[in-house]
């Protein structure tokens, strides 16, 4: 458990907050604004580190009461088993309600078609937007951070989406002070990003400070992987490796958790939080550059997906 704010050593003022305390306080404010202004908020929860930090912040924001939100997992069907196990453990431990929107269901029903490259990340958009409509969610928390990608750098904390979940970057509401505007018409909803101002390093430092448990795939371990597009991918039912791709055993860890078909591992010996933080602080690759194939499809891949309703 954390104690009161850590005073910075750099100024004489006892009132200066460390950057982590400032970010935490801002995120909690955002969670409470949504709880105060919306009827049916939901937290997107994938079992990845950003959504895990979001959940931790929400638990702190409403302690000692339970968090007034349900969870939604958009399941691509290509999951790391450790992450699914983690997801179910956390949901049970905190007595939460979890909705699952399944890409596999949509494929089985013939609504969505498997892409030739086997990547299911872009296929998440339809199940996500339909789940939002079906459950009439009016606020949807996402773990997106502005440091992830240049289109995300343009994202507001409260981001209005129309009835088709579309994002129009040229028609965003100006966001002034911390006076967030959550007004929306029926059928529209607001995507909310409490971690907007956090960086990958902030997330890891916060996980270390708060002693938050993570799925093991974030730490170095031996794994059977093969190389594709300069990334180490995990072999699995989703369709890798193909002919000419050879599986080898390497010591790796993951920087992000996503669909197995497009989330790459990095070579690593970092088995502890401190080692992970040291490794990231010295890394010369961004999180997405190192491990996400779907962002490399074009210069505006993320912008285009966000316009369609991707989170």
């Amino acid at each position: 458990m954390t104690t009161a704010a850590t005073a910075s050593q750099e100024t004489d003022s006892p009132y200066a907050l460390s950057h982590l305390d400032a970010l935490e306080s801002e995120a909690v404010h955002i969670f409470r604004e949504v709880a105060g202004e919306f009827e049916r908020p939901v937290i997107l929860f994938s079992g990845g580190k950003d959504s895990i930090v979001m959940l931790h912040l929400a638990l702190k924001a409403f302690a000692p009461a339970a968090i007034p939100f349900t969870l939604l997992h958009v399941d691509t069907g290509h999951n790391f088993p450790e992450v699914l196990a983690y997801r179910d453990r956390v949901v049970a431990a905190h007595g939460l309600r979890l909705h699952v929107a399944s890409v596999q269901d949509y494929i089985d029903r013939g609504v969505l078609r498997e892409r030739p490259d086997g990547t299911r990340n872009p296929l998440q958009t339809v199940p996500l937007t339909e789940a939002i409509q079906q459950h009439r969610f009016d606020a949807v928390f996402g773990g997106g951070r502005r440091d992830e990608e240049k289109a995300r750098a343009k994202e507001r904390v409260f981001s209005l989406r129309d009835e088709f979940s579309q994002w129009d970057p040229r028609r965003q509401r100006p966001e002034l002070w911390n006076l967030y505007n959550g007004r929306h018409a029926p059928g529209e909803h607001v995507r909310v990003f409490p971690l907007s101002n956090w960086t990958e390093l902030d997330v890891w430092q916060y996980i270390a400070r708060e002693h938050i448990e993570l799925p093991e795939i974030y730490f170095a371990h031996e794994r059977e992987v093969f190389q594709r597009s300069h990334m180490w991918l995990t072999a699995g039912d989703w369709g890798g490796p193909k002919d000419g791709e050879t599986v080898e055993k390497r010591r790796v860890r993951y920087r992000t958790v996503g669909d197995m078909s497009c989330t790459g591992a990095v070579d690593s010996d970092a088995t502890t939080l401190d080692a992970v933080i040291t490794e990231i602080a010295a890394s010369r690759l961004t999180e997405r550059g190192a491990t996400r194939a779907d962002d490399k499809m074009s210069e505006a891949a993320m912008e285009d997906r966000k316009r369609e309703g991707y989170f």
Binding site: M1, T2, T3, A4, A5, T6, S8, E10, T11, S13, Y15, A16, L17, S18, H19, L20, D21, A22, E24, S25, V28, H29, R32, E33, A61, F62, A63, P64, A65, A66, D147, K150, A151, A153, K154, L160, Q172, R173, P174, E175, L176, W177, L179, N181, R183, A185, N197, L201, D202, Q205, A208, D274, T278, A281, A282, R284, G289, E299, A300, E303
Partner: protein, 451 residues
């Protein structure tokens, strides 16, 4: 030029955790090289990672440019890259061993004044960029006025393209003097002028060898060392109640906490507090800092206050020390920046969000509109269009506890919202604005309002 592939000295976990956060905004005209400055700041502080730089190099090459165009690091939208201009505020993150930075990178076009207002509303510092060849132009004055209006505590004047004026001290000195005189008149509390070349890298991160006559800090050194004000001694304590926490569980049957982010000042256990607008009073029985009991808490911490008496308090109320309560009023006088495309007119019915409270309101009068170029006031403009700054009088349906924006950037600020479609219409700052060189010209306006 520094290579980005060269590994930086890794910082220890302790070093990384002890840093403070500085929020700053940049403003500059279209061709002043703002994107280049931001790109240079990110690049030379080694905040650009290899894959990002490779992407920039690849695009620059495909466009036939010789050197990587650092501006491409910051223009995130298709339309921005196509037009080569920045349309919307983007937020950038970088860190040094001394500080973490959140940079609101705001567009310079006059039609995007509202975006500079957006960026400046949360900034501790604003960097105003000018082209050394052009000096202080209208747009520079506009940026200085917006920084003054939003009460950004520190302003940096970055005189860019010094390489194109042979690094002459006299050019820099003349611009710095002119800008400082103008900005001081507006009430900008602190101005630091720095001669730079964003393209060549002079005085952005590394000290310039071309300007021996300059003895001050580089832009980054200044950003790392500028004090972020935490002097709370004279601040009025304010807590807008966001949410009432009532677990109603076996473990906490009677817990009733008032959650919110402290907007100003400090709160202590044992202090007498008053609830506004009802005026009821009680004493602070306890403060929870996200699950940990503390004796004292201060802005901008998010806390939960527990009171001795069970009184009626809900979202939208403001908790204040009983001995330091603001007056409540239904008549708001403010300086506003209109941010929506549709104009704001007298008689307009709106919603006003102040702190956590949203009330119905009506625009009673628009006494004047500010001409940013010369700071003169045009009386009775009838309406404010997008990017206009002006004075307004608003009547609210319920009394609001308002502070002057000069006293508190949080509890002196509000936004107007269109009740029909939820559009954010206007950014508002309560009370007197900055001092104007000239009084209101309209003789019939005897309210004594001035900017």
């Amino acid at each position: 030029m520094t290579s980005t592939t060269e590994p930086t000295e890794p910082l220890s976990v302790e070093q990384l955790s002890a840093t403070t956060l500085l929020r700053f905004a940049t403003a500059g005209s279209v061709d002043d090289g703002k994107s280049t400055l931001v790109g240079r700041l990110l690049h030379d502080s080694k905040s650009v990672l290899t894959d990002q730089l490779e992407a920039v190099e690849q695009v620059s090459r495909s466009r036939g440019q010789d050197a990587p165009d650092l501006a491409l690091l910051t223009d995130g939208l298709r339309a921005e890259r196509e037009q080569g201009i920045t349309i919307d505020v983007a937020y950038r993150y970088f860190a040094t061993a001394r500080r973490r930075f959140i940079l609101a990178d705001t567009p310079g076009h006059v039609q995007y004044t509202r975006n500079m207002v957006t960026g400046a509303s949360t900034a501790d510092l604003a960097v105003v960029l000018v082209d050394a060849r052009n000096g202080v132009i209208e747009q520079t004055r506009r940026h200085a006025a917006v920084a003054a209006l939003l009460r950004v505590p520190h302003v940096v004047l970055a005189v860019n393209k010094m390489d194109l004026v042979e690094y002459k001290e006299s050019v820099f000195a003349a611009i710095a003097e002119k800008f400082t005189a103008y900005a001081s008149e507006l009430g900008v509390p602190e101005i630091t002028a720095i001669p730079i070349s964003a393209l060549a890298g002079d005085n952005v991160v590394d000290a310039s060898a071309n300007m021996d006559w300059y003895g001050g800090p580089t832009v980054l050194e200044h950003l790392e060392t500028v004090p972020v004000s935490h002097d709370l001694a004279h601040c009025h304590a304010r807590l807008p109640v966001q949410y009432v926490i009532r677990p109603q569980t076996a473990e906490h049957p009677d817990y009733r906490g008032y959650a919110g982010q402290i907007a100003a000042g400090t709160f202590c256990v044992g202090s007498e507090v008053t609830v506004l607008p009802s005026g009821r009073t009680s004493k602070i029985a306890g403060i929870d800092l996200l699950g940990t009991p503390v004796d004292v808490a201060w802005t901008p911490q998010s806390v939960t206050l527990l009171l001795e008496d069970d009184i009626d308090i809900s979202r939208g109320d403001l908790l204040v020390p009983s001995k330091d309560a603001p007056a409540t009023t239904q008549d708001v006088e403010a300086t506003v920046c209109h941010v929506a495309d549709a104009p704001l007119t007298v008689g307009h019915r709106v919603l006003l969000k102040h702190g956590t409270r949203t009330v119905k309101a009506i625009v009673k009068d628009i006494p004047s509109r500010l001409t940013l170029d010369d700071l003169s006031l045009a009386p009775a403009p009838g309406q404010l269009v997008a990017n206009d700054i002006g004075r307004v009088k608003i009547r609210t349906a319920e009394p609001l506890p308002l502070d002057s924006y000069a006293d508190s950037r949080r509890t002196g600020a509000f936004i107007l919202i269109d009740p029909a479609d939820g559009t954010t219409l206007t950014a508002g700052m309560v009370g007197e604005s900055f001092a104007a060189p000239e009084p209101v010209k309209d003789a019939s306006d005897d309210d004594g309002w001035d900017f």
